[in-house]
Amino acid sequence: MSVRVGHAAEAEDFPMAAKKLLQNRQLRDNLRHATDVIRGKRAKVVNELPDWEELRSAAHEVKEHVLRYLGSYLEQFEQKCKQAGGQVHWARDASEANGIIAGIIKRHGESEVIKVKTMTSDEMSLNDALQAAGITPYETDLADLIIQLGEDAPSHIVVPALHRNRSEVRQIFQEKMHLKDLGDRPEDLTAAAREYLREKFLRVKIGISGANFAIAESGSVVVVESEGNGRMCVSLPRVLITIVGIEKILPRFEDLEIFLQLLPRSATGERMNPYNSIWAGPSGTDGPQEFHVVLLDNGRTNVMADPESSETLDCIRCGACLNACPVYRQTGGHAYGSVYAGPIGAILTPQLQALEHSQSLPYASSLCGACYEVCPVKINIPDILIHLRGEIVKRGDAPLNERIAMKAVGFALSNGRRLSTAQKLARIVQRPFEHDGNLQDLPSMLAGWTTFRDLAAVPKTSFREWWAERGKGTGT
């Protein structure tokens, strides 16, 4: 099995990528605006619900219960889905899933598919795989269309093109849709997308979707969306293929009463998103005649295997932690090198890959806790970040300079005499850099500490020295 999370394995380390992105003023303006708007809307509609905390707790408990019994719920889902006329496929990793999907499309002799936004398919790099197999995928979510036509990568789980402003979108559409006179009002751009995609919705015979939830009890699949492109993709084509990460299972239909309150309010700050589509299998003359579900592992069982961090799989992909994160709000999503950005991406991406790649991501956080506070399913992201940092150090994968520094600090702090020697030494070494009690302009590797802030210098007298002196003073 080889887990693939987009291009995360080949991505640059977070600090390197972030440093470059931070130079982009436009990007930071776009990010600040977009995340401010969603945060404001979210706060308003979350405050409307007096039982928000109770909903969060219930959601957390349901998700933990599902993980514990995942095997039997998957069996039940498969059985119910088949009973409803669906076909169920299992995929150990991304390339197996991509192969299954390309196979179904080829069997129907088709060379085009319409897609409704699915992060899981981005995780699988499905579009690349389809194109390699001679199949053209059309993204139909407005933001995904902007990403696809702009040959760009998603930078947010819910609003993947939030790093683009209207004039950038206009430029992409003008070029790729051949619309010279296109205006730059969001209304104009949205209308252009409607026009561009309508013909594809009515013509293309195969649709691909993800799933927000899959119900074990009924074999139902739920797709949550706003634009109507989801409804188009799941109800107009003749064949529908739905990709379901194995952690998306809910035991019963009634569990939706929790998650359909938490998700829209957390994701887009709406009381309810405009459209939810729920179906189980094909349905006579209504909608697709053939329905396939691809159940995907791709590293999810790696995440499950560590009880300290398995709750990462509780995530319902609302993106609230991204909008709340002071790091994400500065760097944007591309710095994370993964389709999953922000705090959840910082814990999910490395775990899916069994900590073999993306090891810089658990460090991309100040551990302020804002992500935990807004998480609708109460994933303790800060705790998991710390846990993963520990795991990475245990594996000996921490950066060499950090390992040496930690060893040195450990040595000095383990004994009072050593500490006092170290302090004396530091007082001598710091002299050329000390100004008014602060250190400035430290050289080379240490520059990171002083470039953007003051670092307090080691004081002239340590507490121990002061204490000892004080004793003498009162004695005489």
Binding site: M1, A34, P50, D51, A58, E61, V62, E64, H65, L67, R68, Y69, L70, G71, W90, R92, E96, D141, L142, I146, V159, L162, R166, P186, T190, A193, R194, L202, I215, S218, S220, S226, E227, G228, N229, R231, S235, L236, F253, E254, E257, L260, T268, E270, R271, M272, P274, Y275, S277, I278, W279, A280, S283, D286, G287, L295, D297, T301, A305, P307
Partner: protein, 215 residues
């Protein structure tokens, strides 16, 4: 080589050992959130209308013996003449002066040529302004309420529940039918978080709220 399902199941089996003690049994999951509403019918209706208007939907009202004239007034206001209805839609509700096409296996192209569609719904949820369509029943096939640019939905006052849990429980009784929930017309905020109405679904959603008994 084992097949994919066997291998995934084996991996899950190995992984769940560590989770044995922490998780609750299904029946002991704490559900201390609000399960049902406290408003009376008049307050429920008021909340529902308020939410719909907040999304940009127009709400019209009539009594159950005025449905025909209610529909006629609305279509005149909107200047529409050719409307689709699901097969089985009560013919006695339809005003004579307009053209109505009943859905008997219409193609998507035929559906696209109509001015709009009129349906009823299975239920509505006041707190979120949500309309629940049960397909191939009173709401017709999914394409019918999706391709046209205009949707007029009849909601009977006694179909409105207050909270999402009440709504989901009602939906669970027909969970095998395709279901679409609609909360305001199609919208996107993908460009600079500016909410734009009408991307792919009907750009206009009107609700005709019918008082009196459900017929």
């Amino acid at each position: 080589m084992t097949n994919a399902k066997e291998e995934i199941m084996r991996r899950i089996q190995n992984a769940t050992h560590g989770l044995l003690e922490r998780a609750r049994e299904y029946d002991t999951i704490s559900r201390n959130y609000i399960q049902s509403g406290t408003r009376d019918q008049a307050q429920r209706i008021e909340l529902f209308c308020d939410r719909l208007r907040d999304y940009g939907s127009a709400v019209y009202t009539c009594q159950s013996d005025e449905i025909t004239s209610g529909i006629a007034n609305l279509l005149n206001t909107r200047q529409l003449s050719c409307l689709l209805v699901p097969s089985g839609f009560p013919a006695q509700w339809l005003p004579r002066e307009f053209e109505f096409i009943s859905d008997h296996r219409l193609t998507n192209e035929q559906i696209g040529r109509a001015d709009g569609v009129i349906t009823a719904c299975a239920l509505a949820i006041a707190s979120t302004g949500t309309i629940v369509l049960r397909h191939s029943e009173e709401a017709g096939r999914r394409a019918l309420t999706l391709i046209p640019d205009y949707h007029l939905c009849l909601v009977f006052e006694n179909q409105i529940v207050e909270t999402v849990p009440e709504g989901i429980r009602a939906m669970s009784t027909f969970s095998l039918a395709p279901i679409t929930t609609i909360s305001g017309p199609s919208a996107t905020s993908d460009i600079e978080m500016t909410r734009i109405k009408g991307v792919h679904g009907p750009r206009t959603l009107d609700v005709l709220l019918v008082g009196g008994l459900n017929v």
